[in-house]
Symmetry: D2
């Protein structure tokens, strides 16, 4: 029998120029939409009488960008998600995801694309509930000291030596679930990002797990509107180069940046009184 | 407070040559391991007394490849997952994922890598339950006719014209959950792959959803050991080129292969008497 | 002052269905066009009176696909390149590159995309000369034995141990220049590919350079229409896993497939009486 | 017969921490080395007596990073290239390429990786000559107005409408050849980058070719040590969304960011009295 299902348009690339004043504003989004609801007929017989085309979803993104303007990704995603649920009776749930790419201003109408992280949001709207998740991906951070790793379990396959001074580096992939759906999204994102970075920088680390928890707890402390934080932190290993064959010492100076394999640390930090999630999200 | 968490080594690249006879055998895997259990101490204080290093997990992959040989990815993943749960008391769950890359034989010890799909497995072992999921990703299929799409909902943002003859193309990403943990994995995979392909080819399609359901149902019909199938099918749009400005007709002959955006159809087909999943899996 | 320059449309994605018989034919190309000629005005003053829009080049690809059909990539590239040089007086040279993606037939109008290699061509046409280069990229080959590497130079930074039995693996990137512009392109490509593979498989190798030369020489021997072969062969290192800490031997059985760094061997094999190249090409 | 050839180690990933003071310094390079010279024997017979292993090249990168420290990429590449030519008599030429990844400082030993561009260098050393090329890739720039495109050639395949106000966006890939081999590389790079950006921002553009020339000429004007500039500028098309079906105007506000195809404009600007290049370089 047909189990859970959804469909939509993925990766609609929207660039919105706001020409309201002398300086142009620029918004650069990648929008993905997935709708669920009463879709049995199209699966079983190809009867599409309940199927809003994914092409229409794409059109709606561009039309809404004109009609409503485009501000914070959470607001635009809420607008779209509510539209589909409220106007299509057969649609019971809408999930709208946005990747937002930042640009630095070079002049009144000139911009340079930043590449240090992608801001994300996933909004899920049903008749009963609205859930907003914000996040960041691709933020690469590195501490060149103040990281140790020892005291671990050793079994018959363990050869790792304890480390008392190592590089700790990761590409932060974080998502945080808001308790409500009405926040100053820009301030919330900037504050959350700053809290994550500050905790990474400020934690003398005995494991990447410890750093992960500090990052999640730091975000919860800084942002009362957030109920829960989830992080996936690859341990971007930097191996100390063995220079002893060349009669050279290497006191934490020359490193091989490894590609694969990598450690992957995943965890969540939840506010004690957090309301329950109303939709599956991430990890 | 600390919420759900896990950690492990991702993307350990293993190549195993079996030199048992005159012809060498070749196995090419990408192995990812994630362990969960009693990991609060390392998160809160950096006490690693319960942390088996991810480096050890990597070593175990290579050592087991020698000690046990490497056959089907499901078997190797089960071996690894059980090892960690059974030998580390603080580890309550192990999730082992394998990507398997196929090679065609060119000679007794010569091979050419195929690139038409990746075979996947995700095995989750706890004290109480074992769950095996098999899958395929990156399998690109195309029907150049026998696909229509019309009769859909039209709202104020709909401009799509009904199509009575279009290209239907997708990159199959499928996962299927086995009811048990003891199967002829090789035959099961080959049969499942054949069932998916056969249903795609044999379905006169009025929507990609219909094709998705046919693929899932076809797999369940062919393979009694499978309890549930999940599919994510991007609609790789092929747009008919508008040649009318050049006084040329284009009766389904010349197409623009689009990159983004793309439709994304996700759904599952579940056997009526399927046992419940014992671990979260995919989608 | 303005130096060498050219411009064009890159990566026009063309899919052509030939519906001539009961079985459909399918051609899948990625076409890039670059024109050079009298283009000083647009560079210096933005006067575009000599600039054929790149959008027009894209249109021409789709229109020609209908008007002329699409066969071998070399033929289609020649057709396009000659068109621009012959119809635009200010265009003195046209370079047309095609990536061709192969599909295996599953039925009269059903196909599965192969992923084991990409067939390439680069055609350069001027008033005076026509040059056709064919090639292949992404073809991954592996010999699990019959490869040694020793007798090399050792300086103060050398730690590599001689190897008398190793895996030799590479991702073949090869281009070959034809002496003329009128050949059975399909047979030529198939024969060239077979010669490359055969030489890789059949060479007992003391260095990847030796294998490279054998591949180039084998192609020249097999295909009299080819004047010169160039190859870039990454040495996809497979490191023998050190299992001695676990009291396990590893006689060429368990390997770590490395990502970076990799050896890169580049070379050419030229027929003694080869005519000179008429345009810069590759490497 | 054997034609031109070279070999080496590609993509050695080096991270160098300088711990000289209270604040750590961080250098992050991807180093590729290619040597040429008397290499006939290994190609023809597998005699490796003239082959310095690529593994040794990798070791040399790490050892030199300790012995000499790592400053500007041009200096490090020169050091390496000269070493191989001067210490290996059979090596006649060395080409060393470096990709340099910038990190922003977050604290005395904490860093965030920037992603807005990659700084590159390619150094070629022979007994007779030294050539240094610097560059930048992946720098994405956008003007939301002050760009037009009209007055172009129209043939039978032209459907493009003239544009009097469009977005102009590109991902700058630029290389510039220095007249000498002894410059303040840091200042030269920063000045060159600033000149490129300034010309892009400051040029009212009638074609991307015009902008390209302005960028090259601007760099030559700003940096007397540079002899020649080459640029490859993809025209990252932003298509105005057609909102007329929804009774909405779109005066340059809502754009579809396209992936493929894209225009590709390639050109060079050469100082009138530029010395000739001594090695092939780019484009």
């Amino acid at each position: 029998m047909l189990g859970p299902n959804r469909y939509g348009k993925a990766e609609t690339r929207l660039v919105r120029v706001h020409r309201d004043g002398e300086s142009h504003g620029l918004v650069d989004f990648n929008v993905s939409i997935a709708l669920s609801g009463d879709l049995t007929a199209t699966h079983l017989t190809g009867d599409n009488s309940g199927v809003l085309p994914t092409d229409t979803m794409k059109n709606t993104v561009y039309a809404f960008a004109k009609e409503h303007g485009v501000g914070e990704p959470e607001s635009f995603a809420l607008l779209l998600a509510r539209h589909f649920v409220h106007t299509q009776p057969q649609v019971h749930g809408a999930k709208v995801s946005v990747e937002s790419f930042a640009w630095d201003r070079l002049g009144p109408h000139s911009f340079r694309r930043r590449g240090d992280h992608v801001r994300t949001t996933v909004v899920t709207v049903t008749a009963d509930a609205t859930q907003v998740v914000s996040g960041v991906s691709g933020l690469v951070l590195l501490n060149s000291t103040d990281s140790e790793f020892h005291g671990f379990v050793e079994d018959g396959y363990t050869t790792l030596k304890p480390a008392t001074d190592r590089i700790l580096a990761t590409a932060v992939d974080a998502r945080w679930r808001h308790a409500g759906d009405d926040t100053d999204w820009a301030a919330s994102f900037e504050g959350s990002l700053a809290a994550l970075v500050s905790a990474f920088v400020g934690t003398y680390s005995y494991s990447l797990q410890q750093t992960l928890y500090a990052m999640g707890a730091g975000l919860l402390e800084a942002r009362p509107e957030v109920a829960e934080v989830r992080l996936a932190l690859p341990n971007k290993h930097h191996y100390l180069a063995d220079l002893s064959p060349f009669d050279l010492e290497n006191p934490g100076e020359v490193f091989i940046a490894g590609d694969r394999p990598y450690g992957l640390i995943e965890g969540s930090v939840v506010r004690d009184d957090a309301p329950a999630a109303t939709a599956e999200w991430w990890l």
